[in-house]
Amino acid sequence: MIELISEKISVDKILNNLEDHSTGAVVLFLGRVRDHANGRQVTRMAYEAYAEMAHKKMQEIEDEVKKRWPVQKIAMMHRTGELELGEVSVAIAVACPHRKEAFQACQFAIDTLKETVPIWKKEQFVDGEAWVEGTVPDSGITQ
């Protein structure tokens, strides 16, 4: 399951999607909006995605994860739009036969998402706002 959504991420929905009797380990990662960044107080966060490409890149992550580990089920969801403090911005869950591969697969998925999926966030402060300094994907251009 891969979704970019503007509504709240439902952890129940993700876990329901991972139901599978052949897997004994589920690792769930949740990223949520933090109240500070670089010493400044964050009040909320806005996310923008290049939806078609983000979906494709997340599908590539799913394919790669399934190649590398015995992942039977994987769910990846990312929010877009305006989020309040504490709201979940990203959720990744994987189901594997055993915990070690589940932890590894989940870590790989979130790390790769942050390195390759075209999504941007803007922090809102008490006294202004700023786009978060991001990562240039490997295939990006640096002049």
Partner: protein
């Protein structure tokens, strides 16, 4: 010939639009397009130093030669998660 530029994040805000058409010569590569974009949107120039491009929903190298009607996305450094 023309290509359509799609803009995201900070670049979209600076351009005050999410799409623009750019006139290019035949044989123009993505790497050359950076300069044309900088001429069209001078306030974007410093941000174009670190930018990625995509065509057909995939990252494209600066050696990619553009074709008539290509939709080229201009991607600032990503910060999802």
């Amino acid at each position: 010939m023309k290509v359509t530029l799609r803009l995201f994040g900070q670049l979209r805000e600076l351009a005050e639009c999410d799409e623009a058409e750019i006139e290019i010569k035949e044989g123009t590569k993505i790497g050359d397009l950076v300069w044309l974009v900088g001429e069209r949107f001078p306030n974007m120039r410093q941000h174009l130093k670190v930018v990625s491009f995509s065509i057909d929903n995939d990252y494209a190298s600066k050696e990619t030669v553009l074709n008539e009607g290509n939709e080229v996305s201009l991607l600032p450094p990503i910060s999802g998660g």
